[in-house]
Symmetry: C2
Subunit: 241 residues, 2 copies
C-alpha cells in the first residue's frame, strides 16, 4: 500500500471545517463498517480510502493508502479515531416527489440531525429542508448517527421563511401547546416543521404555521428530545398510508 | 465559600465507577441548569453542591463548596467539565401501578438510555425494568440525556428472563419482522421489550415474546435507533388512552 503524503493529511484535516467541505464538495466517512458499506453500495462516489497499518481489511478498491495511528488521529473527527476512513464526493441523490416534507429549524446537535436523517430514510423521505443555521449534514457526528442514510436523503439548506411563504401546503409545526396529534386527521400532503433543541421553533417560523401539533404528555417530563418527537410525528403522518 | 478537600475530590472522582455509586447509593449531577432544578424540585436528596470559583450563581443551600477549574476537570465525567456539580442521594421514586411496563434488554449507549428514561417519563411510566447488563442509569451521560427524568422514573435492574417468565401479561417485542404496529389493536395492559442497539433482542428473551411488533418501513434505512423506536412504540401504546 502506498503511504499517504503530509499534504494529503493537511487536506483531510481541513475537511473538518464546513467551509472546506463546501468548497471541495467532499467529506470523510469513518469506520470499517461504513467504509465497506459505501464501497459496496456507492463505489462511484468513493475517491480514496485510508487504512491504518496492520489493520486486516480486505478492500477491493484501487486507491487505498496506508496511514499510521498518529495520522488517523490527525485526520479523524472523533476522540477515538477510526482505523479506516474514506474520502467521499458529495452524493447526488435522486429525490422522489414526496407527499410529506420535513423542514428543520436550527437543529444544532449533530446526533439529533443524524438520527432525524435516518428517520426520514426509514419513513421514505428522500429530501429534508433545513434552515441555513442547522448543523451541517456532512459533520462527522451527523454522518455517524445517520448510519448510512446520509447517502439516501438530500438536505437542502435554504431560507425556510421564504420556503414556507411560497407553499400552498398545510404547514404543521410541533409545539408544546397545539392540537392533540392522536385526534387530528393528518393529510397526505403536508409540511412538518421541527424546531431547535432548546428554543423550539423561531418566532418568524411560528407565524407561518397553519396547524399546531402536540404529542400528548401523560407524565412529567418537561419536553421530548427533538429526534424522538420527529420520529413520533413522522410515524403519525405515515400510519394511515 | 468553603474550599473542597483533596479527599473529597478523590471520593467524587471514585463515583465515576458504577461499583462505587452502588456502594455509596449516590451519584453526581452536572451543569448549572440541572443543579438549580434539583435544588428546587428535590432539595431533600441534595447532599452537597460544588461551584467553580468566580461563577456567578445564586444558590440557596447550606453545603456549597468552592472548586477550581482543575478540580472540576478532575471530578467531572465529561470532556468539557461543568462549572457546577452536586452530590445526590439515589432518589426514592414513588412508582404508580402502570398498565404498560417497559423492559430493556442490554441497552448499552448512555444517550439512548437517558432518552428512553425521558420518553418513559413523558408517557407517564414511573418504572422501567432493565436487564442487569443494561447501562447504569446513574452514569453521567445517562443522567444528562434523561433531562431530569431520572428523578421521576425508577429503573429496576433484574434478570429479565425471570421477570418475563413470571407474568401473565402479553409480551410485545420490537423486531424487524413482526406484525405492523399500525394495524395491531394494542391492549392497555402489556409489557413492551426493546433490545440492544446492535443485536436486538437476545435469543432467550425472543422466546418469551407473545407478540412481535414492527414499525413499518417506507424507505431504505436498515433499522431505527432504539430510542426513536421506543418513542414511536410508546406513542402507539398511548394513542388510544
Amino acid at each position: 500500500m502506498e503511504r499517504i503524503s503530509r499534504n494529503k493529511i493537511k487536506y483531510l484535516r481541513s475537511l473538518r471545517q464546513k467551509k472546506m467541505r463546501e468548497q471541495e464538495q467532499c467529506f470523510l466517512i469513518e469506520g470499517e463498517k461504513m467504509v465497506l458499506e459505501i464501497l459496496k453500495e456507492y463505489p462511484h462516489i468513493v475517491k480514496e480510502v485510508y487504512v491504518e497499518k496492520n489493520t486486516e481489511l480486505n478492500i477491493n478498491f484501487p486507491l487505498v493508502f496506508e496511514i499510521s495511528a498518529l495520522e488517523s488521529e490527525q485526520i479523524s473527527g472523533f476522540k477515538t479515531p477510526n482505523k479506516c476512513l474514506a474520502l467521499i464526493s458529495n452524493p447526488i441523490i435522486e429525490t422522489k416527489t414526496q407527499d410529506l416534507t420535513l423542514v428543520l429549524d436550527q437543529i444544532q446537535d449533530p446526533g439529533n440531525m443524524g438520527t432525524i436523517i435516518r428517520l426520514a430514510d426509514w419513513f421514505g423521505l428522500t429530501k429534508i429542508i433545513a434552515s441555513k443555521d442547522t448543523v451541517d449534514c456532512f459533520n462527522p457526528k451527523v454522518i455517524q448517527a445517520s448510519m448510512g442514510s446520509i447517502f439516501r436523503v438530500q438536505i437542502n439548506y435554504c431560507d425556510i421563511n421564504d420556503y414556507l411563504s411560497n407553499t400552498n401546503l398545510p404547514i404543521y409545526g410541533a409545539l408544546l401547546e397545539g392540537e392533540n396529534v392522536y385526534k387530528t386527521a393528518l393529510p397526505q400532503k403536508a409540511i412538518l416543521i421541527m424546531g431547535n433543541e432548546g428554543n423550539g421553533l423561531s418566532g418568524s417560523v411560528q407565524k407561518l404555521i397553519t396547524h399546531k401539533l402536540t404529542i400528548p404528555k401523560f407524565g412529567k417530563a418537561e419536553s421530548l428530545n427533538v429526534s424522538t418527537a420527529t420520529g413520533i410525528l413522522l410515524s403519525e403522518f405515515s400510519r394511515n398510508r
